[in-house]
Symmetry: C2
Subunit: 145 residues, 2 copies
DNA sequence: TATATAATTGAGACTGATTCTCAATATCAT
DNA sequence: ATGATATTGAGAATCAGTCTCAATTATATA
C-alpha cells in the first residue's frame, strides 16, 4: 500500500532521472505523518532513533528536493530556526507564530491573496511565492505574560 | 548640526543608561544615508574602508539595539541573507523581493493590515510584528528570463 | 579638570546550521 | 546479472552570528 504522495514523489523522481531510495521515502513519510512543522534536526534525530542511519546531508538534500518540487514549504520561527511541512492536498496558507513557545497557527484569506496579485501587477512584478508571517503571543502565552 | 534621529537615538541611550559612542553614531549614520536595504557585512566593510576600525560584533550589537528600539527593521532575501533599513519617519511597509537580483520594491496596503488585525483577534493571538514578503522576478529580470 | 565607575569595544574563539567533498554503495535500465 | 549513473554518510569546510575578555572610553561627580 503505497500512499498517493509517495506515488507522486516517485513520478517526480523518475521524470528527473533521479532514483527512489529508502532515505528519500523515509523523509517524505516523516513529513506526511508529522502533526506540526518540523525542523531538519527533528527529522535527522528521529529517523536515526529507529532505523539505523541517515545522514544530515541527505535530510537537507531531500528537503530541498521536496521544496523545489512544490511538495514542501518552510517557515521560520522568531529565533531564525527553519521548519518544514508537506503540501500534499493542503491548500496554501500563512502563519501566526508565537515568539514565546514557537507554536504556529495557520490562516488563509482570499482577499489578502487577491490584493497581493493586484499589487504585483501594478509593479510589473512576477510573483512566485510569498511569506506572510505574523509574530506575536499565542492565547496561552499571552495569559501568563 | 545633529540630526533629529541622532537626538532621538541619544535619548534612548540615555534613558537606558547606555553610552553615546562614535561607533553607534556611525552605524546609525550609515543606515540613515543608505539608499537601499543593507547587510551587516555592508556596514562592517564600508565603515572600515574610511574610518579606522569598527568590529563586526559592534555592528551586530548596534543593529539589535536599533531593532529592539523600533528604529530599524530587517528583511531577508531569497537566499537567506538579512538586510536592514532604518525606520525614522518612514511608515510601515512590506516588500517584494526579486529572486534574481535581490532588488526590493516596497508596498503597503491598509486593507491587508486591517484583515491581519481581524484574524489575530479571532485567534486570540496578540500580534507584535509581521513580515509579508512576496518573492518573484522584478520587471527588469523578468524581461530577460 | 581629574578621578572613579561602569559601559563599550574589537580580536578572535566559538557555535549552530548548512553545504561540500569524495570514496563506498545502491538503484535501475538493459 | 551487469554496467552506468545517482546517492549516500562521514566529516571537513563554510558562513553568519554570538561570546569572552582585557583594554579602552564615556560620563557622573568632586
Ligand atoms: Mn503551516
Ligand atoms: Mn523597506
Ligand atoms: Zn505561545
Ligand atoms: Zn530583479
Amino acid at each position: 500500500m503505497k500512499s498517493e504522495p509517495h506515488k507522486v514523489f516517485e513520478q517526480l523522481l523518475n521524470s528527473k532521472g533521479l532514483k527512489v531510495t529508502k532515505q528519500r521515502n523515509d523523509i517524505l513519510d516523516y513529513l506526511l505523518k508529522a502533526k506540526k512543522h518540523v525542523t531538519p534536526e527533528d527529522i535527522y534525530r528521529d529517523l536515526n532513533k529507529k532505523d539505523a542511519n541517515i545522514g544530515r546531508a541527505t535530510v537537507f538534500r531531500t528537503l530541498h528536493l521536496l521544496e523545489n518540487a512544490g511538495f514542501a514549504d518552510k517557515i521560520q520561527f522568531a529565533d531564525g530556526r527553519l521548519a518544514y511541512e508537506h503540501k500534499f492536498a493542503r491548500p496554501h496558507h500563512d502563519h501566526m507564530i508565537c515568539v514565546e513557545c514557537s507554536s504556529v497557527l495557520e490562516f488563509s484569506n482570499a482577499t489578502i491573496e487577491k490584493i497581493q496579485e493586484e499589487i504585483s501587477k501594478k509593479f510589473m512584478f512576477k510573483p512566485l511565492w510569498h511569506r506572510h508571517e505574523i509574530f506575536g503571543r499565542c492565547k496561552k502565552c499571552n495569559k501568563m505574560d
